[in-house]
Amino acid sequence: MKEYWQEISALTMRWVRRLSREKFSMLFTLVQPMLFWLIFFGNLFQRAADTQVTQAPNYISFLAAGVVVMTVLNNGLAGGVDLLFDKENGFLERLMSTPIHRTSVILSRFIFVMAITSLQVLVILGVAFLFGVRPATGLLGIAAILLIGMMFGVGLTAISMAMAFSVKSHGDFFSVLGFLSLPMIFLSSALVPLAAMPGWMSFLAKFNPMTWAIDAVRPLILSGWSEALPHVGMVIVVMVIFDALCLYGGAKAFRRAMG
């Protein structure tokens, strides 16, 4: 157990070091384009968005939940990229030829991605705060938001790692990534509530786990516990199923690649 922990912390430290050495990418990872969504999109659509439709005092407070979950989405889907590079340049092989537990590398990646994602979510909530968005459920609500983000993030990171282990070239990886991420965003309640969508879009959006996550985060920010609790309960069930499916697929891809 002590050895397992020694491995995982050394491997996690490596991800942290890499990030800190890439000053430029650190800036873009932590102060993500997501912030621009919040600031520009949020303010730009301030007048265009009908508060009757969004059911929020202003568009930016409506959008905050969407941007939080979009951050989780982007980080999660990109979570396997570093493993993809490790696989391609042989570093993964070097790691796996040492007597480490077979899950250590993957676990270190989960820990790192979850930590970075949480940090970013906090940054986004902080910036939203500067624009007057006060989470209605307070600190406990923020903890709940982080929990929901992590539950969604685990599944997404598993998908991303599964892809990293299965693709033949990293070109494939990035095309699938690009193909997944925009429809996931538009077919969710991130930008517009389901009720305001064309019927077929809101129908599809209901199958998007992202919608469930946003619909729980939004009342945590806008309304308060009584409104949020049923959604939070629901999203936990949805995410447990989502994570189970993704982890199962990820484990299969990993075993195939390492066999």
Binding site: E7, R17, N89, F91, L95, T98, S104, M258
Partner: protein, 322 residues
Amino acid sequence: MDRAIAIDVSHLSKSYGSHVAVADISFQVYAGEIFGLLGPNGAGKSTTLRTLITLLTPSSGTATVLGLDTVRDADKVRHVIGYVPQERAIDRFLTGREHLELLAALYHLPKDEAAKRIGELLKLVELESHADRPAKTYSGGMKRKLDIACGLLPDPKILFLDEPTLGLDVQSRLRIWDYVRMLKARGMTVVMTTNYLDEADQLCDRLAIIDGGRIKTLGSPVELKVGLGGDIVSVTLKESAKIPALESALKGQPAIRAVRATDKGLDIRVESPEKALPAVLEAANRLNCGVEFIQYNRPRLDDVFIAHTGRRIEETTPSKME
């Protein structure tokens, strides 16, 4: 020979889908020797090595390392081996020292033991003064040295090197050969792959020539060369009309194994040139054959490779990846 066996490979095969990369190979590596797998691109060298270091499960057959099965006892095998992959498996953003520190943690070395070993290794591969620079600032040769230091960090009983000198300049190659010889002198068993004939010839105690996933022949470089049937003396005669006479005069002489007529003279296979050369010259003199040119060739590993695979190693084009 009853030397201790370090690695025992028995009827090992590995397929990727329907593509057979390694087909039914068997060989043994003795403790304390430098064993080479020589073959062209795509021959199956890395696949064989990856199976031995437990990263691939054989499609059929077995391999044991120090008596440990590479599938059943994979974790124990990983404790006794060091591995230097074919690709420069380097993290550009980490320094040389951080690479070694990471590996030390993965081998669960205590801190002080790790620091001591890392210091020694950096000195050994002459990277001390560059140890705290990110690896992206290293030259190709420095990266390779770091690679080797990483392979040595666990102080392995058996070191696996996949094409250790691929793409290096002559000096770095010689330096790496020296390391490998020194490791052997310390009692380490080394298994390496290469597609350089001279490297196999000069460095390996024994080697297997592998082509198309099969072992074509196996033995020490000397054995393999001798196995071809001795050295060759090529004689060019002034008058080609006298070739048959000289041929029949030499056939059956004790020091001479075989005689073959060529366009301008004879190719004579001999056991030892000291005995054969005088006999050849004496016969030529006696028959009054004017000798224009005489050349003596030791068979090189080239010749061994050609004899067993039917082509030169350089002529083999990498088989396409699928």
